[in-house]
């Protein structure tokens, strides 16, 4: 017998306590001073310090109880091979079942659950098992249980998920279970379709030595055909003053056979709007464009659904189409100089996401209503209008609007309204020869970020022949400078709004910027930035966690005081924040989530479209042996090393739990001691009386 914490045996000195109690009854700690112990010392020693033990039974009971307690705390265990063998045949079994949506292909899911049931039924009585269902994450049922019924019930209640296959989290969870286990034999069963996409996640996971990992594949040996809706795009236009959307869906055929006349339908609010036949070549893709439909005032749930095949999860693509993704821009120019706005209007007219609604006004024709309806005002070679219009523009900026000031030859700025500008500017300055170019650009700024990567636009290509020197304030952020160091573009924040000043023209008068390819994205990015435009999120992916505070479509929801209720694609209702995380929703299912504030019944619900990760549609398989070898370092089913796993003393002790029996024994002795001592006390009292 060995002991896990033998130091506790130092407490055996406590055995002296009952002996002392028995030997020297009621010995007090106080000391009596006595003139001389000459006579006391003459008395034989035993009569002084050793009293005759009167109650041997009591003494033995107390000593035994203490000894057992100490032994229990020392945590004994047997190293004996026989004992280990008697208790060592049991296994720690972990059953890993893939529940990613690719398991919905054909009857894979049912076969996987049957295989899991078979493993459970084959468990020996002493085996303990854990079932882990995994897709991109992993969840386990009751850990290390011997309850077969519980395990089977867990399998029966399991549902197919919408996530992708990732073996890593599941194997790591199994690794933790094995490391915590005190069973001598470790065995894992991996029941999956062995998609290759999930292998990378398991690269750094190695199960404990001696673990046997058995691969059970439910994938079909034959090539698997699969049609999926790979995505959809929305084109917007206006017809009779109403915004319309045209949906174009892209379909992909991952099979080796052409699929002809596949019915693809467009569903709006759950109702089929149109259905078209599509032929998709083998290992190819095709697009289908549906008839335009008029958008409503709120975001509309739209689905493109292809005719069901063996894997239905990727045959549908959900998204939302919200109206009003248009940025109104007011361009204020000089009267009779329409050409100055030509390039600007052309560049903004091309935009689709967002689209720009450009209104051009001569500086003397601008009205306050024009300013009020715009999100961005462009002062193209004009100064701030005087009077009410200038004040309106100032208020517009201070309340969050965007102002783009383009400095041309005719700009005259009122001296008392310089607050909108990042500085003062001088008369035009010429660049000789070939002109100047942009020498510095702040690519970290949202306007120029799109040009930061290589081959995404050469901002040094435009030549600038004239500009208005800008005398910036020290706190002004200069976003771009010419190669002579003069500011080309600067930003100034006013109130809640933004002001950008461009020190050259945006037509071809002072530069050739408008003739360069980068002009269009530059202008659009400037306007998007000034409009604080945030692109809508038409759909999210299953497995993501939705943060309503960051979701553009949920800006009107009261996340703090509102009573937000979510209806998930399964029509189940749950309260947002019920899991302790306010404003977060775990998107586990494919379909539409509808979030409604029950405290504001008149408000429109927020609709969030959730699609499966299409990477899972790639059913390419990995060799199970390859995955097993990566996870265990051995070939699958190799049991030759199962006995090599040497149980640690702590494992042995935990398995044998001898301390428990010792503790029970000690309590028994103490109970007996109580009974015996009470009886003896009563007997002695009777004798005294």
């Amino acid at each position: 017998m060995s002991f896990l914490t033998p130091l506790f045996f130092a407490a055996l000195v406590a055995l002296g306590v009952p002996i002392l109690i028995h030997m020297i009854q009621r010995q007090r700690t106080e000391v009596i001073e006595f003139p001389s112990l000459m006579f006391v010392r003459k008395i034989p020693f035993h009569s002084l310090r050793r009293q005759r033990v009167r109650h041997w039974l009591l003494l033995l009971l107390r000593c035994a109880a203490l000894a057992l307690l100490i032994a229990a705390f020392a945590r004994p265990f047997f190293r004996s091979a026989v004992l280990v063998a008697v208790t060592g045949g049991s296994r720690e079994v972990v059953i890993l079942v893939d529940r990613s949506y690719s398991m919905g292909y054909g009857n894979r899911w049912e076969r996987a659950r049957d295989a899991a049931r078979d493993v459970v039924r084959d468990l020996a009585p002493d085996d303990q098992a854990t079932i882990i269902f995994f897709d991109s994450g992993a969840q386990s049922g009751a850990r290390s249980t011997r309850n077969r019924a519980s395990l089977l019930a867990t399998i029966d209640q399991a549902e197919l998920g919408a996530g992708t296959t990732r073996y890593g989290p599941a194997l790591q969870l199994a690794q933790g279970i094995f490391e915590d286990s005190d069973q001598p034999r470790l065995e894992a069963f991996l029941i999956t379709d062995f998609q290759r996409i999930g292998v990378d996640s398991a690269a750094n996971t190695l199960l404990p030595p001696g673990t046997v990992l058995t691969a059970i594949s439910v994938a079909d040996e034959d090539e698997t055909a699969n049609i999926l809706v790979a995505g959809a795009s929305v084109q917007r236009d206006f017809f009779s003053g109403r915004e319309r959307a045209v949906v174009t869906a892209r379909l992909a055929n991952r099979g080796n056979e052409t699929v002809e006349n596949l019915r693809v339908s467009l569903e709006l609010n759950g109702r089929e709007l149109e259905s078209l036949p599509v032929t998709v070549e083998a290992n190819s893709s095709a697009t289908v464009t549906f008839a335009p439909f008029t958008l409503e005032d709120t975001a509309m749930p739209v689905s493109v659904r292809a005719e069901a095949d063996a894997l239905p999860h990727d045959n549908v693509f959900h998204f939302t189409v919200a109206p009003g993704d248009v940025v109104p821009v007011l361009v204020v120019g000089n009267a009779g100089a329409a050409d100055a706005n030509l390039y600007l209007r052309s560049a903004l007219a091309i935009g689709t996401s967002p689209s720009f609604s450009v209104t051009v006004r001569a500086v003397d024709q601008v009205t306050a209503a024009d300013v009020a309806t715009a999100r961005v005002v462009v002062l193209n070679d004009v100064g701030l209008p005087s009077g009410q219009i200038g004040a309106a523009i100032t208020r517009f900026v201070e309340s969050g609007g965007g102002l783009w000031v383009v400095l041309g030859e005719r700009v005259r700025w009122p001296g008392d309204d310089l607050d909108l500008l990042p500085g003062t500017f001088d008369e035009p300055a010429d660049r000789d020869g070939r002109g100047g170019a942009l020498g510095f650009v702040d690519f970290s700024h949202p306007v120029f970020e799109v040009f930061s990567t290589p081959r995404s636009g050469d901002l040094t290509a435009p030549r600038f022949y004239r500009y208005r020197p800008l005398n910036t304030r020290p706190e002004t952020a200069v976003l771009a400078r010419f190669d002579n160091g003069a500011a080309a573009m600067a930003e100034h924040l006013v109130g809640e709004g933004r002001v950008l000043i461009w020190t050259s023209t945006i037509d071809t008068f002072w530069n050739d910027f408008a003739r360069k390819g980068i002009y269009l994205p530059f202008v659009q990015k400037v306007v998007e930035y000034l409009a604080a435009y945030t692109p809508p999120t038409p759909y999210l992916t299953a497995g993501q966690v939705l943060d309503l505070a960051q979701y553009p479509g949920a800006a009107d929801l009261d996340l703090v005081g509102g009573n937000l209720v979510v209806r998930d694609p399964s029509e189940d209702r749950l309260t947002v924040g019920s899991d302790g995380r306010a404003g977060f929703i775990e998107l586990a299912e494919q379909g539409f989530y509808e979030i409604r504030d029950t405290d504001a019944p008149d408000s429109a619900p927020v609709v969030v479209a959730v699609n499966v990760d299409l990477a899972e549609s790639n059913l390419e398989r990995v060799d199970p042996q390859e995955l097993v070898a990566a996870a265990t370092g051995r070939v699958p089913g190799d049991r030759s090393v199962t006995t090599e796993r040497e149980l640690q003393p702590a494992d042995l002790e935990r398995r044998q739990t001898l301390w428990w029996y010792l503790l029970v024994g000690a309590l028994g002795f103490l109970a007996s001691e109580t009974v015996v001592s009470n009886r003896l006390s009563r007997t002695e009292l009777d004798a005294d009386e």
Partner: protein, 321 residues
């Protein structure tokens, strides 16, 4: 003559059974030592006890013995002719000298043990206090008899010495008053050293608790007799030292050595008492064999009784002469 039926603790060669409590029948006024302990003036204590005691013994034959005529004997050359009884010569025509009962102008010294053990007292009166009262009374009596009184205090060495003198009563009282027990005691070395002080025949009263082996005690005391001194050993013990009345098991600490011993009193009380009695008995026998007077005193017993023992012995001394 009064009889003290239980005063057999005074033994001078007697073999009577030992009784620790002596109860005078009547005639004496007993003063509880605890009451005496409240009186600060030792001389007052001594006078109070002795005179009260003497009053109680007004018919006792012991008083005045020291000046009484004893007998005639024939004149021998060398005798002081002033002692010749001329009246008897006139009648008998022979020279006789007068002899008296005793020479009372003797030296009286107290040898007082002031070791740490003497500071023990379980009933309010320590052995030291009791011995102090006893010594004061003895000195007072001696002074009344015109004896010279002195004192030697000792523990494991001589602590203080007052040579016997007719004028040293006050100094002796002061010395008794100032005694302070504090050190471990031993009989042998100081008593051997004290032998040098008593070249002349004296009466020596040794007051101690005599915690030593009886043979060693006698070895220490015997040299005092070599000069012809009469030695009286007053063995003073506290009742707790005799009866060992403790109940609970606890540790006992030796006052002198500091050593602690866990003791179960219930289990050793009888053995202890027997050992103490054996000790006293052994001392009694050894003293008897060596012609040393021995008196065992229990501090719970009134002081009068101790004085009675002393005077009884003095009487015997005069008788023996």
């Amino acid at each position: 003559m009064h009889r003290w039926p239980n005063a057999t603790a005074i033994t001078n060669g007697a073999t009577q059974p030992m009784t620790t409590v002596a109860t005078p029948s009547h005639g004496a006024r007993f003063i509880d030592p605890q009451i005496l302990a409240r009186i600060g003036n030792l001389e007052l204590v001594a006078r109070w006890v002795v005179e009260g005691f003497i009053t109680g013994l007004h018919k006792a034959p012991y008083l005045g013995v020291s000046i009484d005529f004893a007998e005639h004997r024939a004149y021998m050359p060398g005798d002081d002719i002033r002692r010749v009884d001329w009246r008897l010569y006139a009648r008998t025509d022979r020279f006789y000298v007068k002899q008296f009962e005793a020479d009372t102008n003797t030296n009286f010294s107290v040898l007082f043990d002031v070791s740490k053990t003497m500071s023990f007292g379980s009933r309010g009166v320590t052995k030291l206090d009791y011995g102090r009262f006893l010594a004061a009374c003895l000195c007072y009596i001696s002074t009344k008899q015109r004896d010279r009184v002195g004192i030697v205090t000792f523990d494991d060495d001589i602590v203080e010495r007052v040579p016997p003198s007719a004028k040293h009563f006050d100094v002796t009282m002061h010395t008794l008053d100032q005694m302070d027990p504090g050190r471990p005691g031993a009989l042998g070395p100081p008593l051997h050293k004290a032998t040098e002080f008593f070249k002349r025949r004296s009466i020596l009263a040794i007051i101690s608790d005599f915690y030593d082996e009886p043979e060693k005690i006698l070895d220490a005391v015997k040299p005092l007799r070599f000069a012809g001194s009469d030695v009286i050993m007053f063995h003073v013990l506290d009742p707790a030292e005799v009866d060992f009345p403790y109940d609970d098991s606890t540790s006992f600490q030796d006052l002198e050595t500091g050593r602690k011993i866990p003791v179960v009193p219930d289990k050793l009380r009888d053995q202890y008492r027997q050992l103490v009695q054996d000790h006293i008995r052994a001392l009694t026998e050894l003293c008897s064999q060596n012609r040393i007077d021995y008196a065992f005193l229990n501090t719970s017993v009134p002081l009068d009784h101790a004085l009675f023992k002393y005077l009884t012995m003095r009487h015997k001394l005069t008788k023996a002469r």
